[in-house]
């Protein structure tokens, strides 16, 4: 187990506990809604509700134990790519597993409610506060302008540095993260424009509540964009220095995630406090819309044109997946998940495809999932190295076994193409007029043979 694994576990275990408590908090009855099922106060007192709640808590503990133990067998997996795939599946399972007991409890309560002669869906009623229609906007341009400006400056600087020194990773990462700053801004504006629910028949209560809630969200996104800006600058510094790049990426990614989670938690706590303060003033009761919540969790209501609605369980907001934006969110999440899965599977393919280094028909051929062909006559110099030259990755693979892709030689400050196994002890460096290459064969013997043939030729 190397240090990346340790960091991963150190990061993921608290995140799993966070998700566990977050989901459990969401299962707390809210405004007569128990596990996504609207119950009358009489029904809520019934023994059945208590039994379902107890069973839910037991199930949650079982799932937590299972999820915490799941990575342990992976410690004995010797292949990095299989290990990555296993961990990815673990994260996927963790993201879904805690909602299974909730869905089960929802199904049991819903069935029971129907058996008691209640319907699970009423005619939808839309409450709209006339005074807050389009009137409450908290996000102003100056909240995000400084962060956007710094991001643009960072991107321009990265571009100029790349042109001068050839730092592709710096350009790629700064460019991507600069775009995300604008994404924060856009999301903040979009959320600011979402409909706010009328919670009371008193207009002043509605307006003040909506204003306070939008303020909270605005503060959250502004704080996130500040964290993001700091991340861009600090990460840019490490990429510019080209020192401890992998470690800095990991550590900063963890710190970034923790900071955003802390901000989210802080915002949700504030929101819960706000709801508590307004609890007595909220005289518009929630509608019985059980059937629009799949498994009590996923909001799918074609009659509701709003994408963001007040969360029915726990804190925050729910996304209506029936709207075009909601559907877009599903497609985006599915595409991201698929992309990550494909990357992990391709990692396995990369690791289990053997590298071959040989000389055939006047060419040095290094083949793996792709192939390099270098004509013997174009070789200026060939060296047999006993260790990898000092280099940093531009793009490609750099695992415990496979090293492949475009790298930058630290001392010579130039790029080279690499394909080899990390555990080998002999490496072949080839310099041509059109580039530098560092290869290794499937073993040291193969590398040595090719080197000798080149020297003979």
């Amino acid at each position: 187990m190397n240090w990346t694994v340790m960091i991963l576990l150190l990061c993921l275990y608290p995140a799993i506990l966070f998700v566990y408590f977050f989901v459990k908090m969401g299962a707390t009855p809210k405004k007569g809604v128990y596990f996504g099922v609207t119950l009358t106060s009489e029904l809520a007192k019934e023994q059945k509700v208590k039994a379902v709640t107890e069973s839910y808590h037991k199930e949650m503990k079982k799932w937590l134990l299972g999820i915490l133990l799941m990575p342990l067998p992976a410690m004995f997996i010797p292949w990095a790519s299989v290990w990555d795939l296993y961990f990815l599946l673990w994260i996927g399972v963790s993201a879904v597993a805690f909602f299974v007991p909730f869905a089960v409890a929802n199904h049991r309560l819903k069935t029971w409610k129907l058996e008691q002669g209640f319907v699970t869906n009423a005619e939808p009623v839309i409450y709209t506060e006339l005074k807050q229609a389009g009137a409450i906007r908290r996000v102003k341009w100056f909240h995000f302008a400084p962060q956007a400006m710094i991001s643009v400056i960072a991107f321009v600087a990265a571009f100029l540095i790349h042109k001068q020194q050839g730092n592709q990773l710096l350009l790629l990462m700064t460019g991507t993260f600069s775009c995300i700053t604008f994404l924060y801004w856009l999301v903040a504006i979009w959320m600011d424009r979402q409909k706010t629910m009328a919670v009371s028949t008193d207009s002043d209560v509605n307006v003040n509540y909506a204003r306070a809630k939008k303020n909270l969200w605005k503060n959250f996104w502004v704080a996130c964009s500040h964290v993001h800006m700091i991340y861009i600058v600090v990460q840019g510094y490490f990429l510019l220095k080209r020192s401890n790049i992998t470690l800095s990426i990991w550590v900063l990614a963890i710190l970034y995630t923790v900071a955003v989670l802390v901000l989210l938690f802080w915002m949700l706590r504030k929101k819960a406090g706000l709801d508590k303060r307004y609890e007595d003033k909220m005289d518009i009761l929630r509608q019985d819309t059980d059937d629009y919540y799949l498994w009590g969790l996923i909001y799918y209501n074609p009659h509701d044109k709003h994408t963001m609605v007040e969360s029915r369980n726990g804190m925050g907001t729910d996304t209506n997946l029936a709207t075009p934006v909601g559907k877009g969110v599903v497609v985006l999440i599915a595409a991201l998940a698929l992309h990550v899965l494909i990357l992990a599977v391709s990692g396995v393919v990369q690791e289990f495809t053997p590298i071959h280094l040989q000389v055939e028909e006047g060419y040095v051929v290094a083949s793996h999932t792709n192939e390099y062909r270098i004509a013997l006559h174009s070789i200026k110099e060939a060296q047999l190295l006993t260790e990898w030259p000092k280099m940093t990755r531009n793009h490609g693979w750099n695992t415990d076994t496979l090293v492949k892709g475009s790298f930058r030689l630290k001392e010579e400050k130039k790029d080279c193409e690499v394909m080899g196994y990390d555990y080998n002890t002999l490496f072949l460096r080839i310099d041509t007029s059109w580039g530098t290459f560092v290869f290794s064969g499937v073993d040291d013997e193969e590398t040595k043979q090719v080197y000798e043939i080149i020297m003979k030729e």
Binding site: E123, P124, E129, A135, K195, A198
Partner: protein, 125 residues
């Protein structure tokens, strides 16, 4: 003022909006001269087509409840110069209500008491 719209109602949405605004003016929840949201803002807030809100506003304007101008947007009229008589359609609705009450066994006294309560509620505001 909160507008309550029934999604499954037989009454068209634009009519529901019109009725709710008239009720708001009547019971004082909407004050004379009070600004109303723009067509687009209200449509976005309710989650309906802006044509529907536009239709409701046009009707209210025609009936003399609201006024619109480019500088101030949509406002409740300062004073209502209307004939003190219900339109024919409203009279028909009232007739329907009275019939329904009679069939259900609501007495004339009970019905009148209810009318008085609703009538005076608006005046109190």
């Amino acid at each position: 003022m909160v507008i309550i719209l029934q999604d499954g109602s037989e009454v068209p949405v634009f009519k529901q909006i019109r009725n709710q605004i008239v009720m708001g003016i009547s019971d004082g929840r909407l004050q004379p001269g009070e600004k109303l949201p723009t067509v687009r803002a209200l449509a976005e807030e309710i989650g309906i087509n802006s044509m529907t809100v536009n239709k409701a506003y046009q009707l209210l304007k025609q009936e003399g409840y609201i006024m619109t101008d480019r500088r101030n947007g949509v406002r409740v009229r300062e004073s209502f110069r209307m004939t003190p008589e219900l339109p024919l359609e409203s009279k028909e609705q009232l007739k329907q209500l009275v019939s329904e009450a009679r069939v259900r066994g609501v007495s004339q006294e009970e019905f009148m008491a209810l009318v008085e309560e609703y009538f005076s509620a608006g005046q109190r505001e």
